[in-house]
Symmetry: C2
Subunit: 331 residues, 2 copies
Amino acid sequence: MLKRRLECKEYFDGILAANNVILSKAITLVESTLDEDQLLAQKLIELILPHTSKSIRIGITGVPGVGKSTFIEAFGNFIIQEKNKKIAVLAVDPSSQLTKGSIMGDKTRMDLLSNNPKAFIRPSPSGKTLGGVNKTSRETILLCEAAGYEVILIETVGVGQAEIAVKSMVDFFLLLMLAGAGDELQGIKKGIIEMADLIAITKADGDNIKKARTAKVVYENALHFLSQSDNGWSPHVLTCSALQSEGIKQIWEEIEKFIGITNQNGAFNKNRNFQNLQWMHDSVKQNVEDNFYKNSNIKNVLSGIEDEVMNGNITSTQAAMKLLKIYKNEV
Amino acid sequence: MLKRRLECKEYFDGILAANNVILSKAITLVESTLDEDQLLAQKLIELILPHTSKSIRIGITGVPGVGKSTFIEAFGNFIIQEKNKKIAVLAVDPSSQLTKGSIMGDKTRMDLLSNNPKAFIRPSPSGKTLGGVNKTSRETILLCEAAGYEVILIETVGVGQAEIAVKSMVDFFLLLMLAGAGDELQGIKKGIIEMADLIAITKADGDNIKKARTAKVVYENALHFLSQSDNGWSPHVLTCSALQSEGIKQIWEEIEKFIGITNQNGAFNKNRNFQNLQWMHDSVKQNVEDNFYKNSNIKNVLSGIEDEVMNGNITSTQAAMKLLKIYKNEV
């Protein structure tokens, strides 16, 4: 998968020296499904761990058409210029296992940002299951943090399972909404709105300003009916225009306010520790699964049993039980 | 979880006698996370297996607002009345793990159907992960088949991971779309359109007819650009009005045509066998995971290690490695 695998120390030194080429290669290593790559990746993650966790991790979601790329372009440039922070933009696209596409394959949609040396943009990994996206995204966050990126934006498209995965790895969850489309049409579900720490109505410019203000009131009312989160934070609704760079600063200020409050009441760290717990369980599950499929006796019989299922000779349950028996006798 | 657990034979006899009360109880058993319930559920599934697989399994998806319930009401009643077949309607809602809600909590949205003795409606299981929904939905399909339901409609909401899960358990995938909203606004991704065996534009009545016809042409063109599936079937686009019972018959005829073609060229069975293969792998994963967490040595140390992670004393990776080492030495 990798054209040339580097030594662990080369990755490590390169990342700590904020070398984006090496950072990219390290992410590719983490995303690789080859055993040797994974071994090396784990070693690298262990090494960089002490240099991680110092960033603000922000999830950004919204349906296609809401203007995510345009928003991230404006928001990212604001953070770099006004706050003098380095930012990384990562994408999580659960559907890529089908389409093999990437929501950010076209980096040119973020023209300014992708040419800014203080920004690092990484498209979504392709051909992964959600579990895989989950795992590699977390490790990609750590790699970016070790490379000195202080704000990590994790972009996700769609409305559902991917957002739950992203919520489990960020500090702050920003939901972008269109004015005038109605949340039904936008396919946004109550569960997603409940996850939001802030809702921003995009494209609040020109003829759209009035609609955006109405939507703001509607969503503010909707938020009132949702149960209060236990982190001491009440989500608000803002409007913004990436085109006219309006409302961008206010969104950042909300995030700073959120960090201030949750740092003071301990919710920030509590959330991160809880996420680490989830991560531990995910690692365990991934490992016991890997151990099963890497077992040599399983490897010997697997394709034969798969053929039997494909030919309809045995049921899936029978086949699973057969495999598990072989594994149990052998481990 | 269950108020009263029945004997395996009681479930079995009740299901084969098409007793809906017992069928409901059996589904609750399958959805239960209690060990004893799961053991019994597995035994029951093994018993009913020879009586399954004879239905047509149809996945139905579309964003909220597309009129899924109204469509299923009309479609289901058509199948019962005109085709004299018993139908079961199941719901898969991946977001319920957050909201604890159910997209079909309100059965009254399907008034006629829910009062028809030839129809069985089952809301989505709540509080499950996607993996769980996946597993229990497959087993619920089998239970309904054993109870004599000849058409199984699996309703899913949202756009993304849930559809991939549903696609992996149905013979035919029907995508409902709104006219005039544009697929961007509907949050429908290319990957979902690629999965569709048929697209139906809903609410093609009154002022909406012209818009629906335009949308039909747009989606037909879109389908042209997508890669041909290898099952010999070319997906079409139809319009329908559940309100005026128009286009419902045509949708059913498309499904019959699909079954005819894929039965003849072998794609129907090939797809089912492939789905069984996926199911086998899912069972294996679920089992190795369960075995880990049920191991007594793991049980003894787990909460202590979880505390250490929550207090930030060890990283998630270190904790996972510690647990895996304990497990390895013990198994």
